[in-house]
Subunit: 121 residues, 2 copies
């Protein structure tokens, strides 16, 4: 059966009814919400929403799975390999398998983005 | 290597640099843009953007793969099985495998949404 999560607020972070707000990294003000995943019955992909507070950044990360990212709010910087790119609302980023990546929010507004992943293998 | 597509406009439809605007159904003003897919190197999922003009609707459809949908602009109605639900910007819809579904835009503004799919099998 299908599932609908309505976006129910935008302060201090975008959030959705029926979806838990998780702290992604204990040392940094980055939050994660799994919008579509195993709980909704999705076996083939997951859609998560991350929000990075002004002045914060995601971990510098690399792993075998790829990411599909769509920025929903704010502006920031994405590191892909050795390059850094300014990004903003509406921009789409594909992070390839094994590619070093990091999302930074120099501020002043929250940086929020959807991030699609294949299932963990 | 990663890929960035910048959203470059919003009229008459949201569109992205380097992404083709496709007419999805010849009989209806529905457009499709593949933001992340095989062309970007993504083998495990695809992220597409659909925009439905006021007064139009997607085809009534059912298939073995599921959909992850996030509304980016406008308001409309989603049919899931025998039920119809009002949806709007920010809302998240999971369409389960085999579930009958259709997106309708009664207007007056464009209805635009991201739609994630697993690879065709």
């Amino acid at each position: 059966m299908g599932v609908i999560h309505r976006r129910s607020g935008e302060s201090p972070a975008f959030h959705w009814e029926g979806v838990a707000l998780e702290r992604y990294e204990s040392a940094a003000p980055v939050t994660k919400q799994v919008l579509i995943g195993p709980r909704e019955g999705a076996a083939h992909f997951a859609v998560r929403y991350f929000e990075i507070a002004p002045g914060a950044a995601s971990a510098l990360d690399t792993h075998a799975h790829d990411h599909g990212v769509v920025v929903l709010r704010g502006r920031g910087v994405v590191r892909l390999g050795d390059e850094r790119h300014a990004i903003g609302e509406g921009d789409v980023i594909y992070v390839a398998p094994g590619e070093l990546h990091q999302f930074e929010n120099p501020g002043p507004d929250p940086l929020g983005f959807l991030c699609v992943i294949p299932p963990k293998r």
